[in-house]
Structure formats: structure tokens, C-alpha cells
Amino acid sequence: MLEIRNIVKQYANHRALDDVSTRVEQGSIFGLLGPNGAGKTSLIRIINQITAPDGGEIYFDGERLNPNHIGRIGYLPEERGLYKKMEIGEQMLYLAQLKGLSKTEAIDRIKHWFEKMEMQSWWHKKVEDLSKGMQQKVQFVATVVHQPDLIILDEPFTGFDPVNVNIIKEEILALNRNGATIIFSTHRMESVEELCDSIVLINKSKKILDGKVKEIKNTYRTNTYRLEYLHQEKQLTDVAGLFDITSREITGDNTTLTLQIASGMTINDVLAYLIPLVQIHELKEVIPSIHDIFVQHVTAKLKYS
């Protein structure tokens, strides 16, 4: 869908993007992650052709990105807004026509979406007469009304109230099932982790890593498990060559351990050792969250540099 190659964006005293490359697969949900100021919005603006890169190029469905692609992209900017004094229907029509829809087509689509989101009676209302939540719905419809193949949502869940977040999440997933590719951009990595197929992590203008979420997590597995068992008089201790205990919590009758399994051993070896000793309640692999991976990466970088 989208091939981003060696993008560089230079502002006067500061490089917003430094040689960033990644791929967004057709039909996937893609996470563009990184802390505030990492360069996410700069990259999105380049994809939207709002600004041009100083270096590198972007391919959209194999073609070099050009103005014809604008109508195939739907963009919900982080800074949202609508004309306050313009009627909702007219405003939708204007935005849809700017995306290249004909008037009749635009009216059909808008009516379809208004029905779907239960906003039929809003056509002649002005934005300033709507509540915040209603405005958010309008803004979302404006983003997707022209049936874009690529939907880019910058910080989609900030500023939306929880009810709308769920409605909109459902709609986004439905659009994705119908073939649309979605890019989520956010600094709150945990909010999109479970939705994304692939991600790219950027920090301080540079790409840290990218790929499928599952694969990334696999590579960052540390063979660490959390074990909960019924408290007993004899305390478990480290077993050389099998596992180290990295933390120990005692609540009531239960003890919770974090076990770091020695290299070459598996969880089955550990269990074989433990089962005769304690009564196990729960066992779970500790899989790092994207956020943990990010922190790990950034701190590791700091150590080496």
C-alpha cells in the first residue's frame, strides 16, 4: 500500500525526520508510534502531501506519491476543527467535493453515513450548536466519507469521549474489514497495541524498529514467567542453571515470583522441578509491551552512546 523510503525532513534548526523507511501492507492496521515530538506528524503531513520531504520518496500502490492519491486518503488530524458557522450538511458536502467526489455522489455518501451514525437531523445545524461528542462524530464522518483506501488517524482516541471511542473503533475495524488500510499515529502506545498488525517506532526523528507486532514481540521475549503458588513454609530460591528469581511478592497465602529461565532451558524443565515442591495457581509468560520495548530500546541506545 505504502512504501516509505529514506524520508528526510529538515526544518531550519532541526531535523524532523532522519532517513525514515517503512512499509504499510495493504489492508493492515499500522501503528505509527513514538513519543511527542518524534516526527510522527511530520511524516503524516508528508504522506498527505501537505508538506514535501527534503529527501527520500513515498510510493502509493507502487506509484510515486502524487496529487491523484489525495482523494484516496482520509486524514483525521490531531488538531481537529470544522467551520463553526457553516451548516453540517453543507460542510460535509464541501469537504467531500474537495476530495474529488461529484456533488450527487457526495450527497449519497453523506446521507448514508448520517443514517449509520444516527445524525440525520443534523444536516442544517451549525457546528457551534453541537456538543463536543457530536462534533467528533461529524469530524470522523468527514474523514471517511469519500471511501478512502488509506485512512490516517493522528491521535484518534484523544479528545473523544469513551462512548464515541468505542463507536469509532468499531467503525474503523469495519472499514478495515472492508479493505481499507488504517494508520494509527499515537504517543500512547498501549492504546493501539492490540489493534495493530504492524508498527513502526520512531524516536527523535529516527526509526527505532518496525515490523509485525507478533514478530517484534517474539524477538523481545526474554524467557521470563510469572508464577503464582500457594504459600508454603519452605521458600523457593534460585536454582543455578535452571532459573533466577528476579522478584518476589507475598500476598496473603500466595506468593508471586518472576522467574528468569536460564538459557537452554524451557518452561517445562522449570515446571518439572517445581511441581513436586509447590501447588501452582497460575503461570504466565511475561511478554514485553510495545512501550516496554520502546523504553528498553531507548535506554539501551543511551547506554551505548
Partner: protein, 442 residues
């Protein structure tokens, strides 16, 4: 291109549909016509209600039977009892006056006129004219000059200013040209600011409501800026054209309505001249001459050329300046921050505006006038000041070409600042930063 049309359409319709637009469009011509009609009405009225009775106490004895009654004023002799006469004035209805001519009038030249209400200028002039005539006749007689001879040798020269052009001679009219030149410079000055700041406000609004990013993900920033500028410019043109059409129409209606009145007025005045003879209505006569003269002078002015050049220069100047206003609007977050950037916009306009009153009007074909009407930043005002005086076609063509070049330059520059500025939220920009934005690639 299609998208720019959509933007122009939105900008245009959203403003033209506003109630305030309709209000201003219809009220301004009504207001102008109102003033025009009021002036005519008041002038006519001052001629109609002049019938007055003047009781005269002549202590000098010089004026007995010499004051002539006119259609408007009747002179009556009064007793010498000043107190009783004053009481009579108070008790009588209608316009009655008490004129007291002191014994030493030929040396002091002072008389007194008493009334319940101060006498109108018409009555006052009439009385002083008659008194002066009588005194003058006495002085002539004393000096041995025969009045009839004197008047027969009074020469009169009438100057008719003509301009030589390639099409032949034509009547020129410095007075009317001056008046029109002045109104045009005021009008353009006000309108450039009015519509330019509308562009600026529109951009600040889009930036503040954050819709700008949604829109420029669909169109190029330059398209959005030009769409807005052109849309608002068309609103301005629409307003002018409606003003011209409405004023002309209303003027026509008011004209036919007043025609009857003014004809009667002219007839009356002529009548009066016959009755009063020479001295009687000299003042009234010359006032009528003024009205005639103004109409005549206005007739000499080439309104078609003026209206066309006005529309062209207004639109050209508007494009040039509104681009600058657009750049300012994109660089700030609120209207209060615009001050620091307004100076370079205000200075050339204010400069020409002030010069147009002092220098350009008095010397519309001088060197300064020529250059000011060539420089794109000053030509919208300077050229319009000169046009009523007649400007060679090649100068207009050259100046307009330069203006077109000028606005292409300013819109290009403004566009480069605009595309960066609209995405800078909550950042106070300086001139240095504007230059930096201007240099950004892409």
C-alpha cells in the same frame, strides 16, 4: 482548478448570504440618496418659505419709499415707538421682522433686525442687498457717477477651460475632477483595508478552528489562499456593482420625483428676478448658478472610464494587498497579534492616501504623480486620483501591467509564508521567522 472554484464558491456564498452583507449593500445607497435628497429638499425649502414682512423704522430718513417689495418680502413703515413695535412683532403670526436703521447708517453701516426667530439667510441677504443698493446709489450720486453708465461698462469675462486631446477639444472640469478624485482615493483606501482584513480574519479563523489541516490535506495551501482571496474579492466587486446599480436606480427615481419640485423652483426664481429687477435676487440667482454649474461640470466627467478603471484598480490593488494580509493572517494565532506585521502594509497605502490630497490633486500630471501611479504598491490609489483629470491610455496600460506583476509577486511570496504559517500553532512569529518560512523547500 475545479477545487479552487469550490473554495471561491464557499468563500463567496458564505459571505454574500450573511444578513450584514445585504444590509450594507442596500443601506449604503439609501443613505447616499437620502443625503442627496435631503440637500435638494432643504435647498428647495429655503426658497419656498421666504415670505416675510419687515417693519422698518428708518431713523436716518435715507430709505423712505426706496425699499422695493419683492415676491418674498414686504416692507412696511412702522411708528418710531421701538418698544411698541417689538411687542407687535411678538404678537403677530407668520414671519415678521423689525428693521431698525440708525441715523448714522451711512457712516456706521450697521442696522439691526429683530424677530421671534432668526431670519433666514435669504431674508438677511435680501435686506442687506437692498440697503447696500440704496447707499451705493447715494454714493454714486454724491460722486457724480451715473449708475446707468456705470453698469453699461461693467465687463464680464467667462472662462471656459478646454483640454486638447487627440480626439479634439473637450470641456475639462477641474472642480468636479478634484471632488471625484478625492472620493475615489478615500473609497479605495477604505476598501483595500476592509476586504484585505476580511481575508486576514478568514485565515485566522481557519487556523484557530483547526479546519485548515483538514482542507490542505485535500488541496494545496496556495489554492486555499487564492480561493479565499478571489472569493472575498468577488464579494467586494459584487457589493460595488450593486451599489452602482442601486444608486443609479434610486437616483433615477429620486430625480423624477424631485424634477417637478426643482422645475417649479427655477420658475419661481426667474419670476422673482423679473419682479425684483437687478439687485433683488442676485444672491438667489448665483446660488442657482452653482447648482447648474455642478450639474454641468459633472456632465463633463467621463464616468464610464472612471468606473471601469476604479473596478480594475480596486481589484488589482486588492489582490496585491490581500496577499500580504493573508501572509499576516497565517503567521499569527489571533487578531491582536497582527499589529506587528501591519506596518509594511499600512505605510505605502497611508503615504499615497495623504499625498493624494496634498500633491496629486494639485499636480495630477507631475513627476511624483506619474511615479506613484506606476509603483504597484501605490498605484491603486494614485492612478485613481489621476484618472478623473485624464491620463494617457499608455500610462494606464503600463501601470496596470505593473500592478498585475506586483500582485503575482506578492501572492507568490505570501503563498510561501502562508503554507508554513497555517500549520504553526501557538508560536509567536517574528520577521526573521517569516524569512525562514519563506525559504523552506517544497
Amino acid at each position: 482548478m475545479n477545487k479552487i472554484l469550490l473554495i471561491i464558491k464557499r468563500e463567496y456564498l458564505s459571505r454574500v448570504r450573511k444578513k450584514s452583507f445585504l444590509l450594507v449593500t442596500f443601506l449604503v445607497p439609501l443613505f447616499l440618496i437620502g443625503i442627496y435628497a435631503l440637500t435638494i429638499y432643504l435647498t428647495a425649502k429655503s426658497f419656498e418659505s421666504n415670505e416675510a414682512t419687515v417693519y422698518t423704522i428708518d431713523q436716518s430718513g435715507l430709505f423712505a419709499n426706496k425699499m422695493a417689495n419683492t415676491g418674498k418680502i414686504t416692507f412696511l413703515e412702522a411708528s418710531d415707538d421701538i418698544a411698541a413695535e417689538k411687542k407687535r412683532i411678538l404678537s403677530e403670526e407668520g414671519k415678521t421682522f423689525l428693521l431698525i436703521i440708525p441715523a448714522d447708517v451711512s457712516t456706521s453701516s450697521r442696522v439691526e433686525l429683530f424677530a421671534k426667530e432668526t431670519a433666514s439667510f435669504g431674508v438677511q441677504d435680501e435686506i442687506t442687498d437692498q440697503l447696500e443698493d440704496v447707499l451705493r446709489d447715494r454714493a454714486y450720486a454724491a460722486a457724480g457717477i451715473d449708475r446707468a453708465t456705470l453698469e453699461s461698462i461693467s465687463p464680464r469675462v467667462s472662462l471656459s477651460a478646454k483640454e486638447i486631446t487627440e480626439d479634439g477639444e473637450k470641456d475639462s472640469s477641474a472642480g468636479a475632477a478634484m471632488g471625484i478624485a478625492m472620493s475615489l482615493s478615500i473609497l479605495v483606501y477604505i476598501c483595500l483595508f476592509l476586504y484585505g482584513s476580511q481575508v486576514m480574519r478568514g485565515i485566522i479563523e481557519e487556523k484557530n478552528s483547526r479546519i485548515v489541516e483538514v482542507i490542505i490535506s485535500s488541496v494545496k495551501p496556495f489554492q486555499l489562499m487564492m480561493g479565499k482571496i478571489l472569493g472575498i474579492g468577488l464579494v467586494g466587486l459584487t457589493q460595488f456593482i450593486l451599489w452602482i446599480v442601486l444608486s443609479t436606480a434610486l437616483m433615477g427615481i429620486a430625480g423624477t420625483g424631485l424634477m417637478g419640485g426643482s422645475n417649479a423652483m427655477v420658475a419661481k426664481v426667474e419670476n422673482q428676478e423679473l419682479v425684483a429687477g437687478n439687485g433683488g435676487s442676485a444672491v438667489v440667482g448665483s446660488e442657482m448658478g452653482m447648482v447648474d454649474k455642478v450639474t454641468q461640470e459633472l456632465g463633463k466627467v467621463d464616468f464610464q472610464t472612471i468606473i471601469i478603471t476604479f473596478l480594475l484598480y480596486f481589484f488589482g490593488g486588492y489582490l496585491l494587498y490581500s496577499a500580504l494580509f493573508a501572509a499576516v493572517g497565517s503567521a499569527v494565532d489571533s487578531e491582536t497579534e497582527t499589529q506587528q506585521f501591519m506596518l509594511p502594509i499600512t505605510i505605502p497605502l497611508l503615504f499615497t492616501y495623504i499625498l493624494s490630497f496634498g500633491v496629486l490633486i494639485n499636480d495630477p500630471h507631475g513627476t511624483l504623480a506619474f511615479w506613484l501611479s506606476m509603483i504597484p504598491f501605490t498605484s491603486p490609489i494614485a492612478m485613481l486620483v489621476r484618472v478623473p483629470f485624464g491620463v494617457p491610455v499608455w500610462e494606464i496600460v503600463l501601470s496596470f501591467a505593473l500592478l498585475v506583476g506586483g500582485f503575482m509577486l506578492t501572492t507568490w511570496m505570501a503563498g510561501r509564508i502562508y503554507r508554513v504559517g497555517i500549520l504553526m500553532y501557538g508560536k509567536k512569529a517574528s520577521y526573521k521567522e517569516l524569512v525562514k518560512w519563506f525559504r523552506y523547500k517544497g
